[in-house]
């Protein structure tokens, strides 16, 4: 970190997707804002103005008041690259853009299936999936950790949870990439970002329409069936909301965990002493997972819109104005974390906000934790050596911080014989 503040409020860029693609997270800028202007009015080209919120305490305070700060009017801050008033994600109606009291009704349909107690029985299956994925790269000297490893596991887990048959997993993977990363040229199968996203959205909708019809006739234990047969105010869920629900689960359960996995390994490559520590002390896995999630903070931001005039850290926020919550900034807040720029797998407590906080806090957090626990436990056991074999390529997005490709040279051992 620079000690001299060479930045100025006029010039810093914290929302342009190109910046994120080229440089990764603007931690230097966020650090500057936390120090000098923690509630900062931003007017960027092709972007509706917003207040940038960079302090842990302020993000918490806002997130705890879901009726004062709504999700619905503006889910996130994005740059209108084609000059149109359009969201970077296609139109949906799901938990992310719902507000109380409706939000609670919808969330309650599945929330019990994502508690630590509910996800624990999935562990053996996640272990199998992970072992299989690692077996595939064992014996190789080099791989793209994203394509070959980190993208495969979360997708398989969520597909399993939804009851999607194996033969369709690849297709699901493609739709997910195209929908959330539609602003990135690599994932544009159409001519424009909007067309790409629209096509994936329709693909997913059709796929789940067929699955829902089946689960209504033949209910099973999978999440698809639970949503298909779920009730809101005693009524079945309307079709659009139902399909949006699946879309949310597929997308949210995927990219984020993939990016935490990739970013986690990258952190271990950068901090080899932490890697040796985990190898020697496998019992540190739980705090290691929390630190990986803090360190990577895969979700960059969500926005809220004030329903009435209010004040944050002495700054007046007017009704109708929106605030943009920069979670990775909260997770480097010097007032909360000792040596926030140090990757330390024994950090405890670790009150990071990578999963958000309050009523919209990540529904799948416990599943994500379990996945990361299994992945990094197996890696610690089997991965004897890893180093970058080329530059990482980042996703062009200021919403989800992603690494698209991470070539590594490595030495992966076969799994120990089953006990």
């Amino acid at each position: 970190m620079e000690t001299k503040d060479a930045l100025s409020l006029e010039s810093l860029n914290i929302i342009g997707p190109d910046y994120y693609a080229q440089n990764g997270y603007p931690h230097r800028e966020w650090t500057y804002l936390r120090k000098h202007k923690p509630v900062f009015w931003c007017e960027f080209p092709k972007t509706d103005p917003f207040w940038a919120i960079t302090k842990h305490a302020d993000i918490t305070q806002i997130s705890k008041q879901p009726r004062l700060f709504l999700n619905g009017p503006r889910l996130l801050v994005f740059v209108n690259e084609e000059g149109l008033e359009q969201s970077p994600t296609p139109p949906f109606r799901h938990l992310l853009d719902m507000d109380p009291p409706e939000h609670n009704e919808y969330r309650a349909i599945v929330s019990r299936h994502f508690t630590p107690r509910s996800v624990r029985p999935l562990q053996p299956e996640i272990e199998n999936i992970t072992r299989h994925v690692l077996d595939e790269v064992t014996g190789r000297e080099q791989c793209d950790f994203v394509t070959d490893v980190s993208s495969k596991i979360p997708l398989a887990v969520i597909a399993e949870l939804l009851g999607v048959p194996h033969k369709d997993w690849e297709q699901l993977f493609r739709w997910t990439n195209e929908t959330i990363g539609g602003g990135d040229p690599e994932f544009q199968a159409g001519t424009t970002a909007q067309e790409t996203m629209e096509r994936s959205r329709l693909g997913l909708f059709q796929y789940f329409t067929d699955m829902v019809a089946d689960r209504m006739k033949h209910p099973t234990n999978d999440i698809t069936s639970i949503v298909a047969n779920g009730k809101v105010h005693g009524q079945p869920i309307p079709q659009f909301e139902m399909l949006s629900y699946y879309f949310l689960l597929v997308v949210a359960g995927n990219e984020t965990t993939r990016n935490a996995t990739t970013g986690g390994l990258r952190a271990f490559i950068e901090y080899p002493e932490q890697w040796q520590k985990l190898k020697r002390h496998p019992e540190l896995i739980d705090s290691a997972v929390e630190e990986i999630v803090r360190w990577t903070s895969p979700v960059i931001q969500f926005a809220r819109t004030a329903t009435e005039d209010t004040v944050i850290r002495g700054q007046k926020i007017k009704a109708g104005e929106s605030v943009c919550l920069f979670y990775p900034s909260a997770n480097r807040d010097e007032e909360v974390f000792e040596e926030p720029f140090k990757f330390d797998i024994s950090r405890d407590p670790n009150p990071h906000l990578a999963f958000g906080i309050g009523q919209h806090s990540c529904l799948g957090a416990n599943l994500a934790r379990l996945e990361l626990k299994v992945i990094f436990s197996q890696l610690a056991e089997r991965l004897d050596h890893a180093e970058l074999a080329g530059p990482v390529e980042r996703l062009r997005s200021s919403f989800v911080g992603g690494i698209k490709h991470m070539p590594i040279r490595m030495k992966m051992k076969p799994a120990a014989a089953a006990a």
């Binding site: 705890k64 019990r112 994502f114 630590p116 107690r117 407590p349 958000g356 009523q359 957090a365």
Partner: protein
């Protein structure tokens, strides 16, 4: 020190039980239950940590 868990918000994330097992117990109903609603002062730090770590912010600690 008085502790209240908002049962409507609680989703059984277990963070409170991990922070202060003397005070919180998450049961099979996926809700956190108070073992003592007025914990002794020596547990303040743990209880405050539970309040802070709750992902749903369902715990309120007051000095009533």
């Amino acid at each position: 020190m008085k502790v209240v868990v908002d049962q409507k918000l609680c989703e059984g994330n277990m963070k409170c039980q991990q922070a202060a097992p003397e005070v919180f117990e998450v049961r099979d109903d996926d809700k956190s239950h108070l073992l003592i609603d007025r914990p002794p002062e020596r547990l303040r730090q743990k209880v405050k940590l539970a309040e802070r770590m709750c992902p749903r912010q369902a715990i309120t600690v007051s000095d009533e």
